[in-house]
């Protein structure tokens, strides 16, 4: 593990600069604030363990994004809200606002389809970049995308507003 001061400073700077942006992507992928925080922390902890092997900072972000997406798609779990990914959002905790239509729409999608939608529309990735991040073929991305859009179109909220 890269434990010297320079590595630590570089990692801390990276977390300070990119932590919130990672959280936003994670939030859309998980459709849950707490799951998102946990996903980001899990990702960054994994990243820190390999930080000394990561080349310049420019590459670090691409690497971290890949770890985040992979961790999410492969089934990152949080005990408190186990298995919430592939099911509609349940009744929220008392201290939280009710889920929004977008949250519900995202939560209605399987994990991989949700990742494709977030990467394509929120992060503005190309199909090739999305495939690279997900570690699958462009054809698979297209398939996930088509199914996700079809599913989103079935939702009254998005059918009328977003996908008309």
């Amino acid at each position: 593990m890269g434990g010297n001061a320079a590595h630590e400073a570089a990692f801390d700077a990276f977390v300070a600069a990119r932590g919130k942006a990672l959280w936003r992507t994670a939030y859309l992928m998980t459709a849950d604030r707490h799951l998102a925080e946990d996903l980001v922390q899990t990702t960054l902890i994994e990243v820190w363990r390999r930080w000394h092997r990561i080349g310049g900072m420019e590459h670090a972000e691409a690497y971290v994004r890949r770890v985040l997406v992979t961790t999410h798609v492969k089934g990152h779990r949080r005990r408190r809200v186990a298995e919430a990914y592939d099911q509609p959002i349940e009744v929220p905790a008392v201290d939280e606002a009710p889920p929004t239509d977008v949250q519900r729409a995202l939560a209605a999608l399987p994990r991989a389809q949700r990742a494709v939608i977030v990467l394509r529309y929120f992060e503005d990735r190309t199909e090739a970049q999305t495939a690279d991040l997900l570690g699958c073929s462009v054809g698979t991305v297209k398939s996930h995308h088509a199914r996700a859009i079809t599913r989103l179109r079935e939702l009254p909220f998005l059918a009328s507003e977003a996908l008309s």
């Binding site: 801390d12 925080e37 977003a162």
Partner: protein, 462 residues
């Protein structure tokens, strides 16, 4: 559909303020096996206690009224940053500054020094200072633009250029957007303090932060979700004292900011001049008033000229508008306009057609650049009186010049050099173009959609 879904996702992502995530706590968790739930809490308590203790120790040393020590002449500061010894980057930066869309009479710069050069999450950042051709000391920041997906993506671009008062400047600082291809809330902070300084920090509103890895009193770093406020202060420690000052410049939008003496191109340093005169909407000022041109990418609007409004090379809209303003000496308040077309020729040469109303009237301008250059310029400025179906210009390319001719749909362009044959310009990316040899006088003729061949003429701008 794409835009709506993207908008909904961004709105959803912005509904919540992301939690604070601390690198040291994550590192500690990575080392802790097995994971202990108490550890983050303990770390948070310790961090809080440490912050309180540090505040108690440091705060008395901070005084806004403490007279600052005489600053070493800023121009004697060394080059700092991890790319300080990169000679090619330094040369690139100097050439880019000289090719920037500044008032022509201010160029070239003299005695240019690189004050800082570093690689950051926002790409390479270069801070430099020098005197313009009129003798005014200025400083500038150049940054790479990660929003570009064209052959220009590795190029340095000017993001700030403003006067530098060497008598009073003790630090140089700037806060602006971090350009990325995707929406973000990142801010790029740059702070240069006297060599030997330490504990570089910033404060925006109620939010404080510190630079994690300054190099001998200089740093550039990206911070996430810092509120965009004009009031930003920076702090540092030197000679045993802590100093705090307002930031030199805060760019509140994603923009190219050039701050200048309005009459700099007409008034030598120190000349006594205090009059403003106006002819029509054109204002010629002879007052040493500091003015700011702050130009962002223009919104596309419906204009009379039916040119294609989409473009693949719209990344230099700010530069084009500034070059246009510089050429007309028109104040921004008397100027309006926007892009009509932009595109790339086969070798990466970029072109952009803008239409607008300046102080002197309604105009079309054609701006062009090529990837191995350091900045583009206007190649044709044409007053619009009636219908202008084609604008033609000879522009430099990577290996040979081009005829570049944005045209209304259906119009064709022929070109010839000297007494050579007429050649029909190719069409692609919304523009007519033809390679030229650079030998012989260039003539063009327009062919209307009905086949009517116009009279030969020189390209616009010649």
């Amino acid at each position: 559909m794409t835009d709506t879904l993207a908008h909904l996702l961004r709105r959803e992502a912005d509904r919540h303020e992301p939690p604070l995530i601390f690198g040291p706590a994550l590192r500690a968790r990575a080392q802790a096996r097995p994971r202990r739930r108490l550890l983050p809490i303990t770390l948070a308590v310790l961090a809080t206690a440490a912050a309180v203790i540090a505040g108690i120790i440091l705060l008395p040393a901070v005084s806004r009224d403490v007279p600052l020590p005489p600053a070493d002449q800023l121009t004697s500061w060394p080059t700092r940053g991890d790319l300080a010894t990169d000679a090619s980057l330094a040369l690139d930066a100097k050439q880019t500054w000289d090719a920037a869309p500044l008032v022509p009479a201010e160029l070239p710069h003299q005695d240019v020094q690189i004050l800082y050069a570093a690689s950051t999450l926002a790409g390479k950042v270069v801070v430099l200072t020098g005197r313009n051709a009129l003798g005014h000391q200025r400083w500038a920041i150049l940054n790479q633009d990660a929003t570009s997906t064209t052959p220009y993506r590795h190029r340095l671009r000017l993001v700030l250029d403003q006067p530098l008062d060497l008598r009073h400047a003790r630090q140089l600082s700037w806060q602006g957007w971090r350009p990325t291809p995707r929406p973000n809330k990142d801010r790029l902070f740059v702070l240069l303090t006297p060599p030997g300084s330490s504990t570089l920090g910033w404060k925006v509103g109620d939010v404080r932060g510190s630079f994690s890895s300054p190099d001998n009193g200089a740093a550039a770093e990206v911070f996430d979700t810092v509120s965009v406020e004009e009031r930003m202060s920076v702090s540092w420690r030197s000679s045993g004292k802590r100093h705090r000052e307002s930031a030199s410049e805060v760019s509140t939008g994603r923009s190219l900011t050039i701050q200048y003496l309005e009459d700099a191109d007409a008034r030598p340093e120190g000349a006594d001049s205090d009059a403003c005169s106006a002819a029509g909407d054109v204002v010629n000022c002879r007052v040493g008033v500091e003015g700011t041109i702050d130009v962002g990418p223009s919104a596309r609007e419906t204009l009379a000229q039916p040119y294609v409004t989409e473009g693949t090379w719209g990344e230099y809209a700010s530069e084009i508008e500034l070059a246009w303003l510089g050429s007309t000496k028109t104040r921004p308040s008397f100027w309006s306009g926007g892009p009509r077309w932009s595109g790339l020729l086969p070798d990466g040469t970029g072109g952009a057609l803008h239409h607008g109303t300046v102080g002197r009237g309604n105009e079309l301008v054609l701006y062009a650049d090529h990837p191995s250059g350091h900045g583009g310029r206007l190649f044709a400025i044409r007053p619009v009186t009636g219908r202008v179906p084609v604008l033609t210009a000879v522009v430099p390319g990577e290996e040979h010049p081009w005829l570049m001719a944005p045209a209304v749909t259906g119009w064709q362009v022929d070109v010839r050099e000297g007494s050579g044959k007429w050649i029909r310009a190719s069409e692609g990316d919304g523009v007519r173009y033809a390679p030229l040899t650079g030998r012989g006088k260039v003539q063009v003729r327009l062919i209307s959609p009905t086949g009517t061949v116009g009279k030969p003429s020189a390209p616009d701008g010649q």
